[in-house]
Symmetry: C2
Subunit: 205 residues, 2 copies
Amino acid sequence: MRIAVVGGTGDFGLALAQRLVEAGEEVVIGSRDAERAEAKAAEIGAEGAANADAVRDAAIVVLAVKAEAALATAEGLREAIGGTPVLSVASDLRFTKSGVFPSDEERSIAERTQELLGAPVCAGLHSLAAASLAHGRADGDALVCGDDAEAKELALALAAKVVTGRSLDAGPLASARALEGLTAVIVNLNKRYKGHAGVEITGLP
Amino acid sequence: MRIAVVGGTGDFGLALAQRLVEAGEEVVIGSRDAERAEAKAAEIGAEGAANADAVRDAAIVVLAVKAEAALATAEGLREAIGGTPVLSVASDLRFTKSGVFPSDEERSIAERTQELLGAPVCAGLHSLAAASLAHGRADGDALVCGDDAEAKELALALAAKVVTGRSLDAGPLASARALEGLTAVIVNLNKRYKGHAGVEITGLP
């Protein structure tokens, strides 16, 4: 499938794109700056384009821009994305002296993105750090949630290609509140134990 | 240490108490009904008492009542608990046709409990199902968060006794937003894959 990674020149987006290229997928990296996208894409064997061009023929769009830009970027790409399924990976974190806090918002970035777009939105990959993904498939399982069954199948298939473990359906899009918050937990664990935490789900057949 | 389990006659509280007794801890089960607490406690080799009596000489109080009763119970025990560290384990879930939703509240039950009490509140054990805990230590790791370092050490020590894996410090109390939400993810995973999901953190030394 053709996968567009919006914000694909960032650390996470680029590492994700690289793993997807390795898995044999057709990947196009999007950036606000088409030339930058092309240059970065060339490094990993992907295509590069301005965000709006990148998403146009994609089977699925990964919104891999930073949390603070996620909603504005989604809104700007509303027409270009049309009905194409979207995978939101951003987490809204607040860095404080006493640790990393999850979002103060009631609803997740993914749910708010869903409201902005006509497309079905899923959320996932929040427990994968760019640093882990940069060197190969990330350790552990991927958790993906969403309200649209078909879009979620696509997102689960994509996620399965970038982790060593399984790609798991974590329920409705509202689960993104927990999955986005989990990033704060992981960052806190990494600080405390000086590691690269990932999540593995035990006890499933 | 002497551990009080408020709501210790419920499925989760009783299973937790049983594991703690097995680990050699002195456990007192609290219930609104002292007789019921005593009867249940006798089954597992713990003490039983009315909630307010149960918490009085405890080193740590586990608030194991259901989410809908957690805040009212904490408020009612405010004086009896005094400055004793509290471990909040409740998750506010909403069951819908399309799956289990995490809370609509900005803040976690644990943070709201912290505001009600004079005692330092931690949160944890959200990824442990009563059904898993009922038959022995729960598979996977326990995640514990809190703002008070001493209280968190106690809660981590308690949590370490009831899981097969590790007891991990997940950061400030605000992490409870993610940990409580994780229960929704786990319930959704259990439904979808017909298992008893637990969480294991990979990538830490």
